[in-house]
């Protein structure tokens, strides 16, 4: 396949940045999208140009590090996958592909397609944990039976990989799906009840301070989420938040 890539180039955080066109030929449909970018970078290096910077690590859809906005969609046109799992067979010979970073006020660009998502970490520091010491002197794991339905729901929320596609897809740059998933994981488990009030209040407060927008229920985040995290997690977080606000 022969393609034209339109890629966002930005030298550093203070640079204005612009789209640059790159033709690329002999792309195999079996390549992953990032392998296609590897080929482009190899060509750029050989020509003495700067390769395109992009985040990536595990290349199997679980670490959450890759983050491209491809043809106007986070992680590109396929569903239920991250960019590293997107394969070139999703495109046609002659296509023009636009590649941008995840854009949000809370995700400043570091270079080219690489953004700073440390705001997500800071939300987790605010309350994304259960305060038990890691000494191992806890009760036996089977001492608290947990209803399978709740355990499975908790797991489904915990599958979030923290990539930020929800934020990039939301017209308000809201992080409610990300935060809702973490709040839900613990809200659905008995272990999480003890600190439930503080957790949701602190995490939501931090989310707001980081400059993420609010949720207006358009549901774009759920559609683009590579792990299929459900909107019901946002509803659950809102219930938890309301209950906590009334208590607190």
């Amino acid at each position: 396949m022969n393609l034209t890539l339109k890629i966002w180039r930005q030298k550093n955080a203070s640079d204005k940045g612009k789209m640059v066109d790159y033709p690329i030929s002999d792309v195999s449909p079996d390549m992953s999208f990032l392998e296609m970018l590897d080929v482009l970078n190899e060509q750029l290096i050989n020509k003495g140009e700067e390769p395109v910077a992009f985040d990536h690590d595990c290349r199997e859809g679980i670490c959450g590090m890759c983050s491209l906005y491809i043809n106007g969609e986070a992680h590109g046109p396929d569903r239920g996958i991250t960019t590293c799992q997107l394969h070139m067979r999703m495109f046609k010979d002659g296509d023009t592909i636009t590649i941008e970073p995840f854009r949000a006020k809370a995700f400043p660009v570091i270079k080219d397609l690489v953004v700073d998502r440390s705001s997500f970490d800071r939300i987790q520091h605010a309350g994304g944990f259960i305060s038990v010491n890691t000494s191992g002197n806890t009760i036996d794991a089977n001492a608290i039976p947990i209803n399978k339905h709740d355990a499975d729901k908790s797991f489904e929320a915990a599958m979030c990989i923290g990539c930020g596609a929800c934020v990039a897809s939301c017209k308000n740059s809201s992080a409610m799906l990300f935060v809702g998933a973490k709040v839900s994981q613990f809200a659905l488990l008995p272990q999480g009840q003890v600190e439930a009030t503080d957790r949701v209040l602190n995490m939501v407060k931090q989310m707001d301070e980081e400059g993420f927008g609010n949720c207006t229920n358009t549901g774009a985040c759920e559609v683009e989420c590579p792990k299929g995290i459900s909107l019901e997690n946002i509803a659950r977080m809102n219930r938890e938040y309301l209950a906590a606000s009334l208590k607190g």
Binding site: I45, E49, R59, C63, G136
Partner: protein, 666 residues
């Protein structure tokens, strides 16, 4: 007499750890506040260690090269974590987990370490559940288990095909709690490029800020490396793209012995290589062998018809299939350990029975699992058990809940639906049992420098059993290191803060900066990947699943030549003082090019076959690995300039509680 002192406590095996904990020095809580510890790497081992040390009261600085500690490659572990809970009542015990691990490692691991690992394994599960890790459960609300290779019990706890993710996020949450309290200072997007030794003790590191390029000095009273394995020396592996040996290798160059570098795990069930553009390989969890059956066609004519696309594997009659693992190993069948399964796949493919165009693939088939589960479901639901289409559909749903994400991954990569046609798989580099030598306290040969998780060599011998990596990472980080490090730090309560204004820091910083300047100004002809791919080819062809003297000797020469070429001809664009991934890669590949040579040297020395190390000269009449008594030792290498000059030290392995015998899975 070896200069290596493994510091194994005296006394009966089962009492060693308890007794040791009672005997070692403690640091009182007020003094812990005066002590700084650096932890490099934030995967299961590093992340859990950093969190626990901070909880105990130490001041922790943690480093990871990714943009968040949550991205460490532990996250990609799929199948599960072992623990001797015996929840299934199937005869499991601490001793049995210990026994299986030592036998699985082909009698090349240290008894006392493995027993301790088995002993603390049950605690890990309690701890993780308390932290809110959502393990798979049964309808009664209790934890579910499954079985993994090389064992005869079900002791593996799991969270669908994302166990590593859930455990890592558990450790990450514990870490976040401490970051929030200010007890851990987290340095994301930082790469450790050297360890600093002051007066013979590890007192800090030199790190590069990967965003700004700044070279930073960080001091502490002790340094802990939890930086993972070195599988990427093969270029293609199931490791993450950034996984590297640099921290461990720099430690080696500063005096830490490197043990058993040739022990590499080639995992039997990975998606086969599809072309030259390939950047990494993807694992299909071993847990799939609980339900999948591995086969190739019995007859060459069918192999050819399949390769030509004239015959579908689903159309091949049962009697024309060779379920070679079930045939060769009736007791363990498809659940033989990884080294055995990998070699068996290679044997069939080398004999010409590989089922894809490259001839390097075998089938992993779920058809019988669909029917077995489906019949059960039909029975439970009161539906027609003889309606094959219905039964298959019901069975597929069961399989989807167990391994859905793996099936999806396979479909996205290969573009075939594994619910309808068997998966094609082939072995790939996955894990490294070798690593930095540590004593019972997990301290390296450099005082104050510790190494935990996959980065050390200690627990898996020559072959790691499935679901034991997660167990070891968390055991080291949560339950072992936080105790043992206190024994060392007890001497440091009056030391006070370590200054970074010393000649040692200056020297280390200068050597890092000189290296970087050389790479940036080199202006050579070829990219970093060019050299990395070449190294990978040498490693895979000559130090891979089967090794021999001639190949290993030529690998040593070729790698040394390639390393010289690299320094002469590598091209790194851009500058140091910016985000520069090519520079980061170049620094990592430079270290792989040294490690690779030591790896081959170690494999050449080891004139036996053990676990993942298979020397063609040493095999039984049936083609099984042939261990040799005279190699019942750990080879620990001391750095002396070039890898070829490394000096061997032996730690003899003594088995007092287990009878060393032929490792059979028949």
């Amino acid at each position: 007499m070896s200069i290596l002192d493994s510091k194994i406590p005296k006394g009966p095996l089962a009492d060693k750890w308890t007794k040791h904990k009672n005997d070692i020095n403690l640091v009182n809580p007020a003094n812990k506040r005066l002590i700084d510890v650096i932890v490099v790497g934030t995967g299961l081992a590093g992340g859990s260690a950093a969190a626990t040390l901070a909880e105990l009261g130490y001041n922790v600085k943690a480093f990871c090269f990714q943009d968040s500690p949550r991205r460490a490659h532990s996250i990609a572990a799929q199948g599960g974590i072992n623990a001797a809970k015996n929840y299934q009542g199937d005869g499991d015990s601490t001793y049995r987990l210990f026994y299986d691990t030592v036998k699985g490692g082909d009698y090349r691991s240290r008894e006392a370490n493995v027993y301790r690992l088995a002993e603390v394994s049950a605690n890990i599960i309690d701890q993780c559940v308390a932290q809110g890790v959502p393990f798979a459960r049964e309808y009664g609300g209790l934890l579910d288990n499954r079985s993994f290779g090389g064992v005869l019990v079900s002791r593996t706890f799991y969270a669908a095909g994302q166990t590593g993710q859930q455990l890592l996020l558990g450790a990450y949450s514990a870490l976040n709690r401490q970051i929030g309290r200010g007890k851990v200072k987290m340095y994301n997007r930082h790469e450790m490029l050297d360890v600093v030794i002051v007066d013979g003790k590890a007192r800090g590191i030199i790190a590069r800020n990967l965003v700004t390029g700044e070279i930073e000095r960080h001091s502490a009273h002790a340094v802990v490396l939890g930086t993972g394995g070195y599988g990427n020396v093969f270029f293609l592996s199931t490791n993450a793209m950034g996984s590297n040996v640099t921290a461990a290798w720099k430690a080696h160059k500063r005096g830490a012995f490197f043990a058993n570098p040739c022990y590499t795990q080639i995992h039997p069930t990975c998606i086969p290589v599809s072309g030259d553009h390939q950047s990494k390989l993807t694992l299909m969890s071993e847990s799939l062998r609980n339900d999948g059956r591995i086969w190739v066609p019995k007859h060459k004519k069918d192999v050819e018809a399949i390769r030509a696309g004239k015959l579908k594997p689903t159309d091949l009659a049962e009697e024309d299939r060779d379920y070679y693992l079930e045939r060769r190993y009736p007791a363990f069948g498809n659940l033989v350990p990884r080294d055995v399964a990998s070699r068996a796949a290679k044997e069939r493919c080398d004999a010409g029975y590989g089922v894809n165009a490259t001839g390097e693939a075998v089938y992993l088939d779920f058809a019988s699992a669909f029917m077995r589960y489906g019949k059960e479901q039909a029975h439970v639901k009161g539906l027609d058990e003889n309606d094959d289409a219905l039964v298959k559909k019901l069975g597929q749903e069961v399989v989807r809940t167990k391994y859905g994400n793996l099936f999806q991954m396979y479909e996205k990569i290969v573009d075939q639906n594994p619910y309808e046609t068997p998966m094609m798989i082939y072995p790939a580099v996955h894990y490294t049992m070798g690593g930095v030598w540590v004593d019972y306290n997990l301290m390296t040969t450099v005082p104050g420098l510790y190494c935990i998780g996959e980065a050390n060599f200690s627990d898996h011998g020559a072959n790691r059993l499935g679901a034991s990596a997660l167990m070891q990472g968390l055991a080291d980080g949560y339950f072992v290191l936080p105790y043992t490090i206190g024994d060392y730090l007890a001497d440091d309560i009056r030391t006070g803060p370590i200054s970074t204004d010393s000649k040692e820091f200056e020297e280390a910083e200068k050597s890092v900066k000189d290296n970087i300047a050389h790479l940036i100004n080199n202006n050579g002809k070829y990219s970093v990947d060019h050299f990395h791919k070449k190294l990978g080819k040498i490693m895979w062809n000559k130090c891979g699943m089967a090794r021999n003297e001639a190949d290993l000797k030529s690998a040593i020469t070729e790698i040394a030549e390639l390393r010289a070429e690299f320094w002469k001809d590598v091209k790194v664009p851009g500058s140091n003082d910016e985000f520069n991934e090519e520079l980061a890669k170049a620094l990592r590949v430079a270290d792989f090019l040294e490690l690779g040579e030591l790896f081959a040297k170690d494999a050449l020395l080891r004139e036996e076959s053990a676990g993942g190390h298979f020397r063609e000269e040493y095999q039984t009449a049936e083609g099984e690995a042939m261990r040799r008594k005279e190699f019942q030792y750990v080879s620990a290498w001391e750095y002396k300039g070039e890898p070829k000059d490394a000096v061997l030290h032996k730690e003899d392995l003594v088995y007092e509680n287990i009878e060393v015998k032929e490792r059979s899975y028949k």
